[in-house]
Amino acid sequence: MAADTTDTNGLLPMVVDAVSYRAGDQALIDHVSFRLEDSRRTVILGPNGAGKSVLLRLCHGLLAPSAGAITWGGSTPAATMKRRGLVFQRPVMLRRSVAANIEHVLKTQGIGRDRRRGLVSAALDQAGLKSLAHRQARTLSGGEQQRLAIARAWLLEPAVVLLDEPTANLDPGATRAVEELIIRLGATGAKILMTTHDIAQARRLAEEVMFLHHGRLLEHRPAVEFFAGPRDPDAADFIAGQLIN
C-alpha cells in the first residue's frame, strides 16, 4: 500500500532534517526531523502555540528555516510550491465571486481561458459550491469559505495539500462538511498534512500522528498506535484531555 502511493506522488518522500525556526532568541521550531513516506493522512497534533502553523509554513516554503533543510521528493519547498495546495485557518477570500476566486488561482498558474472554465466548474462541484458560484466570496459563511479555500487548493491535482487548523473557527455541521471534503481529497491520492489542536478531529482524520509541543516533535507514529498509548507523558496528558503547559 505504502509503496504504491509513493510511486505516484512525485513530492514524496518529504524529508525534514534538523529544522529549527527562531524568532528573536525564541525557538518556535526546535530541531525537528521527520520523513513522510506515503500518502496517508498525517495530522500534526498539539496545543495552541506548539508551533504547528509555523511548521506547516516552513514545509510550504512561506518561511525559511533558521537551521536545517526541508525537501519534497529531493527538491526545495519553493521549487515544488505549485504542486501543493495550502489552506489557512482563516482563508483569504479575494473581493470577487466564488467562481472568480477559483479562476484566479488558475490564471496565476497560466492556464488558458478554455481550460479554466471546465476546471472552475469541476472544482465548484467537488466542494458543493455550485449554487453559490456567483456570490461574493466574502459574504459566504465560515464553513463555505473554508470549502472554497479547499476547492482552490485542490485545483490542478496537487500532490500534497497542507491544511492549517482548517476547522478551528467552525461549528460542528460546517466542520463535518470540511472533514468529508478533506477525506475525499485524500482519496484522490493527494497527501494530506494538516494541523489541529482538536483531539477528536485527529482521531477522526489521522492515519498518522505527529505530536508537537513547545516546537519539538515528541511523537511520530501511526494514529492507531498513538491513541492506544502515547509514549510521551505530555502527549498522554494531552489526549487524556488535561491542560498541558
Binding site: R57, M81, P91, L94, V105, T108, Q109, Q136, R138
Partner: protein, 234 residues
C-alpha cells in the same frame, strides 16, 4: 446683501438659460481636469502599487515625500511648469505655454501624487491580507500587482475621484500656465477669479454654483461607491 441676492438671481438665470459662454467654460474645465485625472491614473496607480510591493533602499523616504506631495501648492506647480514650458525653458520649443495642454500637464502633476499615494496605501493594506495566499499559489510580482489593484478597485476609484476634486477646484496652476485666455484657456476657477476682480459677480457666482455642485456630487459619488462596495464585497 442686496448685491449678493441680485448676483444670485442673475447667476441662476445664467445657469438655467444654458448661456453659451458659460457652458464653453464649464466644458473646457471638465475636459482639462478629466484628461489630467486620466493621465494621473495611468501613472499613479501602477506607481503606487509598485511602491507598495517593492523593497529597496530609500523606499520609506520616498513614501514620505509622496505623501507630502499630496499637499503640493498649485501656484508652485504652475510656476515650475511655466518655467519649463516658457520660450526660454527646456521644453519651450514645443510652444505649449498658454494652451489647454499646458493646463493638463500642470493638473496631472498636481493629481498624480494624490492618486499614487492613496493607491500605495490601498494596495499595501490589501497586500497585508492577501500576501500569504498569493505567495502560496506562486503569484509573480506583476500578477500580484494586477490582483491587488483589481481587488482594491472601489477604494482606488475613490482616490481617483479625490484627484478629480482637487483638479477641478484648483486655480493657481491653470491660471499661471493657461493665462486665462477667452475661448482658449479660460476655465471655471480662473473665470471666477477674473470676473470677481472685475466686479462681475453674477457670472462668478453662477460658475461658483456649478463648481460647488460638481464638488458635492463627486464627494457623494465617492461615499456611495464606498458604501456599496462594502455591502457587496464585505
Amino acid at each position: 446683501m442686496n448685491d449678493f441676492s441680485n448676483a444670485l438671481s442673475t447667476a441662476f438665470a445664467l445657469v438655467t438659460s444654458l448661456d453659451r459662454d458659460l457652458f464653453e467654460i464649464v466644458g473646457l474645465s471638465l475636459e482639462i481636469s478629466l484628461t489630467a485625472v486620466l493621465v494621473a491614473t495611468i501613472i499613479g496607480l501602477p506607481a503606487g502599487a509598485a511602491l507598495a510591493l517593492s523593497r529597496f533602499p530609500g523606499r520609506r523616504p520616498l513614501i514620505i515625500v509622496l505623501n507630502a506631495l499630496m499637499g503640493l501648492p498649485p501656484v508652485v506647480v504652475g510656476l515650475v511648469i511655466y518655467l519649463l514650458l516658457s520660450r526660454s525653458g527646456p521644453l519651450g520649443s514645443y510652444g505649449l505655454l498658454f494652451t489647454p495642454t499646458a493646463m493638463v500637464i500642470a493638473q496631472s502633476v498636481l493629481v498624480t501624487p494624490i492618486i499614487a499615494a492613496l493607491a500605495r496605501q490601498t494596495v499595501a493594506d490589501l497586500h497585508e491580507e492577501y500576501d500569504e495566499h498569493l505567495r502560496a499559489i506562486g503569484s509573480g510580482p506583476l500578477q500580484r500587482m494586477a490582483t491587488l489593484l483589481w481587488d482594491g478597485r472601489f477604494r482606488l476609484l475613490t482616490a481617483i475621484l479625490a484627484g478629480f476634486g482637487r483638479a477641478i477646484a484648483e486655480v493657481g496652476a491653470v491660471l499661471i500656465v493657461g493665462g486665462n485666455i477667452l475661448h482658449s484657456t479660460r476655465v471655471m476657477t480662473t473665470t471666477i477669479a477674473l470676473e470677481t476682480s472685475k466686479g462681475n459677480l453674477a457670472i462668478a457666482l453662477g460658475l461658483g454654483l456649478i463648481l460647488v455642485t460638481l464638488a458635492v456630487s463627486v464627494n457623494a459619488a465617492a461615499m456611495l461607491l464606498g458604501e456599496t462596495a462594502h455591502r457587496r464585497y464585505g
